[in-house]
């Protein structure tokens, strides 16, 4: 096996120094002059962003979708093994020709999952806009 030399665009220092691996966990801060604009802004403003009313309302909006949606899909999903396990006679009811309730309920789970996924994507597009507006705001404030 061969290990090609690191490519030229990678400006990571060569020996025994913090590399791009380092910033995870609880690393030491980079010296100020090595920080990119993003990092400098980020290091300073976590608490300010977290306290911003727009951020708090974003978190609330996300929770307002995700919590009920998660509870709903868990209840809907486990209704299937519960129904099949403890109410087999009911689930054997023929609904559409020879298709019984058990099969149709199982099949409906696929559509339930797809519908929730598409709803999530639609709603999350709004969250994306709010998140970038929020970040814009903090970029704008940075110079003040």
């Amino acid at each position: 096996m061969s290990f090609p030399p690191s490519n030229n665009s990678d400006l990571t220092p060569e020996t025994a120094s913090p590399t791009d691996i380092a910033p995870l966990g609880q690393p030491a801060q980079k010296p100020r002059h090595e920080q990119t604009a993003d990092e400098e802004m980020a290091a300073a403003n976590w608490d300010a962003i977290a306290a911003d009313p727009d951020f708090i309302s974003l978190i609330k909006a996300k929770a307002a979708f995700i919590v009920p949606a998660t509870v709903f899909f868990i209840v809907y999903y486990f209704a299937l093994p519960i129904g099949v396990g403890w109410f087999p006679k009911l689930m054997e009811t023929r609904v559409l020709g020879d298709m019984n309730l058990a099969y149709l309920f199982a099949l409906s789970q696929f559509f339930m999952a797809w519908i929730l996924a598409f709803l999530y994507v639609a709603v999350a597009a709004g969250w994306d806009r709010r998140a970038s507006a929020l970040l814009e705001k903090f970029h704008a404030r940075r110079g003040i």
Partner: protein
């Protein structure tokens, strides 16, 4: 149906040629990927430049194992409806991935699941235990896949032995991962997903054609399937009736919990979200994956029930057994060439999954254990992390080959797969959820949660009906008990100590996870 059953064409070596064509294509991809995988982000995360639909296909390719293709088809063909219950759980599980883990993981992590935990907790103990859990899940799942590959090959490719198949699969997965890294693995998974979907669609089409594309007629044929019972008598059963396979409803609940909460803790699935440029793409890739995975599992209706109706359980039993339901159906309906194609697809399926498992195991060892636990997050030499991952992939591959050969073809692989999902659900998911959503959560809680989940899953499986004649624990899958234990372990551990630093950094993690600020960027070029 009798004329159908009389088809017994001489099996040629078409399957072997098709399989070799797939291998050749994947090796070419590996060759080109190797050039782009020199730096860490290129090697571990494909440069984070995979698009949404590509990653969706790759997630699907990473996830739909031989167990789900051949195993579920066989279970439905033999026991009807109950087999289809697996199909449902495998898809619904992705809602947990979509709602809870995919985006925060992409925003706050770098290469592994442990990155998100280590973000605000003390990195070394958390990474060490998370790496142990990742390796456990990946290696058990990998051995299950390899034993499956070995047993299948004897039926699919006449003349190739169990050992040869295991060694072949092992060498290929190591080659993909060592030389091509995540990029090669991704493309192997994409090609596999396309092949699997093509094969399944065509097989479903052939089944429906037999019923003149009349779904009513298709479902009517399932209401009276005749097979020979163990005592030799003929029994006719309605295959749409639940309960032909599972007698204890609690087994179903426990299995459902393992699937729905375990998928979001499977390390080889989670690391796929680091290969895309941002959280938004991670989200769209989950949805792409759900479309593909959902369509595939709905089609198990046609080729699983179709095999029951068109071939009958007795025919499948005498033609290779449960796992051969789908390939035999292809053989009877589509002839020699289609049988060869489906056989080659089955192998591609196994290869794509084991490659994904190998890279998740080696990434976790190199990134979590070697770099961050042993060397405090500093590379000793440039490229050391990638080099360690390559060596790990080699060692993991060799170990998996040896263990799979020692265990032999008769080992019960179902429990290995069950174990992988149970550990993922009981150890990994509780600590991921708490580290993202619970400010008070701390290092002690993460370590106890991971260890309690890991140990209780393994211990409960060891005393389950799969291992004991008089089981102490009555359920085949431990999730019903081990998931609550994992959560309780994490909560109790957390309450035992206070860690102000972890609570302080929770703010930072929340901002990162929800805005994408400071998230890893795609590599330029």
């Amino acid at each position: 149906m009798m004329p159908l059953l009389l088809v017994a064409a001489e099996r040629g070596h078409t399957a072997i040629w098709m399989f070799l064509a797939f291998v050749a294509a994947t090796l070419v991809i590996t060759y080109f990927s190797a050039r782009k995988s020199s730096d860490a982000s290129g090697y571990f995360a494909a440069g984070r430049r995979i698009t949404g639909w590509q990653n969706g296909l790759a997630v699907a390719g990473d996830y739909m194992s031989a167990a789900s293709f051949l195993g579920i088809a066989g279970m439905i063909a033999f026991n009807g409806y109950d087999g289809f219950m697996y199909s449902v759980g495998f898809l619904v599980a992705y809602l947990t991935v979509l709602f809870v883990v995919a985006e925060p993981l992409r925003n706050a992590g770098k290469y592994t699941m442990a990155d998100v935990l280590a973000y605000r907790l003390s990195p070394r103990p958390v990474r060490a235990v998370a790496s142990l859990s990742t390796l456990t899940v990946s290696v058990f799942y990998m051995i299950a896949q390899m034993v499956g590959a070995g047993t299948l090959v004897r039926q699919l490719l006449p003349g190739v032995s169990y050992e040869v198949a295991v060694v072949g699969v092992g060498i290929l997965m190591v080659v993909y991962v060592v030389f091509g890294g995540m990029l090669a693995t991704t493309w192997v998974q994409i090609i596999k997903a396309i092949l699997l979907m093509t094969g399944s669609i065509f097989l479903s089409f052939l089944v429906l054609a037999k019923f003149d594309f009349d779904l009513g007629k298709f479902f009517s044929s399932l209401t009276a399937i005749t097979s020979t019972a163990a005592d030799g008598t003929q029994v006719t059963r309605n295959f749409l009736t639940p309960g032909l396979l599972f007698k204890n409803p609690w087994d179903q609940i426990s299995l459902g919990m393992a699937l729905v909460f375990g998928t979001a803790g499977l390390p080889h699935i989670l690391i796929r979200f680091y290969t895309v440029p941002d959280a938004k793409t991670a989200r769209s890739s989950v949805v792409w994956a759900m479309i593909i995975i959902g369509l595939f599992y709905i089609m198990t209706t046609f080729f699983g029930f179709g095999a029951a109706s068109l071939l009958g359980p007795d025919y499948i039993k005498t033609h290779g057994g449960t796992n051969m339901a789908a390939p035999e159906l292809a053989h009877v309906l589509g002839g020699e060439v289609f049988f060869a194609f489906i056989s080659a697809v089955a192998f591609a399926t196994i290869l794509a999954v084991v490659a994904g498992l190998t890279i998740s195991a080696s990434t976790s060892f190199a990134h979590d254990f070697f770099t961050n636990v042993l060397h405090h997050g500093k590379e000793q030499r440039p490229g050391a992390e990638v080099k360690v991952a390559q060596i790990t992939a080699f060692v993991v591959g060799a170990a998996a080959i040896i263990i799979a050969i020692l265990l032999g073809p008769t080992v019960n692989v179902a429990f290995l797969v069950g174990l992988a999902f149970a550990v993922a659900a009981s150890a990994n998911l509780p600590v991921i959820v708490f580290s993202i959503f619970w400010r008070r959560f701390n290092t002690v809680g993460a370590v106890t949660g991971l260890l309690v989940g890991l140990v209780s899953s393994i211990a409960l499986i060891a005393v389950s009906p799969d291992f004991m004649a008089n089981p102490i624990f009555p359920l085949k899958n431990p999730a019903l008990l081990s998931i609550p234990l994992g959560f309780i372990g994490a909560i109790l551990g957390t309450l035992l100590s206070r860690e102000p630093e972890a609570e302080r950094r929770f703010t930072e993690l929340t901002v990162r996870a929800n805005t994408g600020l400071g998230a890893e960027k795609a590599s330029p070029h």
